[in-house]
């Protein structure tokens, strides 16, 4: 570690691995990441990147599912389809944001040779899909019985 006592203090990644400015620019984020730990095997970085991309596609798929639900569910009254569509889209948005945060945390851990943190995303995704599926199923059955 360089020993500059005056300016940087201990705000670099070593001491506070989870410190991150939420609104830092991409260049600033990249610089901060590069200052953390050592260069890992590139394959690790790529694996981490592919994981992020897979989560991002999951998020896009959820948004697509929400859009499809809004168009193809014919519930009466009309607004009922929002019960299925809106949570799907919101879940997609939340996962898109969380997967980026998770990528950065993982990248930092890889560079510091620390164990990777478990993510809450699989639990939220599984739970979310179960709840939305139940809502959709119940709505469809009720709609069928009433009309």
């Amino acid at each position: 570690m360089p020993s500059d006592q005056s300016t940087a203090g201990d705000q670099d990644g070593i001491d506070t691995p989870r410190s991150r400015g939420w609104l830092a620019s991409p260049a600033e984020r990249e610089r901060r990441l590069e200052e953390t730990g050592t260069e890992p095997d590139p394959r690790f970085s790529w694996a981490n990147e592919r994981t992020f991309l897979a989560w991002n596609r999951t998020a896009l798929a959820l948004i697509a599912a929400g859009l499809a639900a809004a168009q193809f569910l014919h519930l009466n009254p009309h607004g009922l389809r929002l019960i299925v569509a809106v949570p799907l889209i919101v879940l997609g948005g939340v996962l898109a944001l969380a997967s980026y945060v998770h990528w950065e945390d993982s990248e930092r851990a890889i560079r510091l040779k620390q164990p990777l943190q478990y993510s809450w995303m699989p639990r939220v995704l599984a739970g979310g899909i179960v709840i939305i599926a139940l809502c959709g199923g119940i709505l469809a059955i009720i709609n069928r019985i009433v009309h």
Partner: protein
């Protein structure tokens, strides 16, 4: 850092580039869905804008994957971590979510 490319039996770089390509394709698909939903909701201007914007964003995403191949061509074994590109994709997805939400509620 002018060494030959690392031996990469698992084709990690290729798989990553292909993952970017899949992401670009997903974005095209969702652009179609948003445009269709916006037309149904009589938001014609939004439909056209959404279609063009997602097409452009998908192209940028696709190019991002291709840039990995270009890096291989110049035999750089440096790992690239690219918060810029990943952050861009994340912001794009959030934007798509917001537009999808608007279209869904108006529909």
């Amino acid at each position: 850092m002018t060494q030959a490319p690392q031996f990469d039996p698992a084709l990690a770089r290729d798989r990553t580039a292909l993952a970017w390509t899949r992401s670009a394709l997903s974005m095209l698909a969702i652009g179609t869905l948003i445009a269709r939903a916006a037309f149904e909701a009589d938001l014609h201007a939004l439909a056209v804008i959404a279609a063009i914007a997602t097409l452009a964003l998908a192209l940028v995403t696709w190019r991002q994957g291709n840039s990995l191949y270009r890096e291989r061509a110049v035999s750089s074994s440096e790992p690239h971590h690219q918060p810029g590109a990943l952050g861009f994709l994340m912001s794009t997805t959030l934007l798509i979510a917001v537009v999808a939400l608007v279209v869904t509620i108006v529909l």
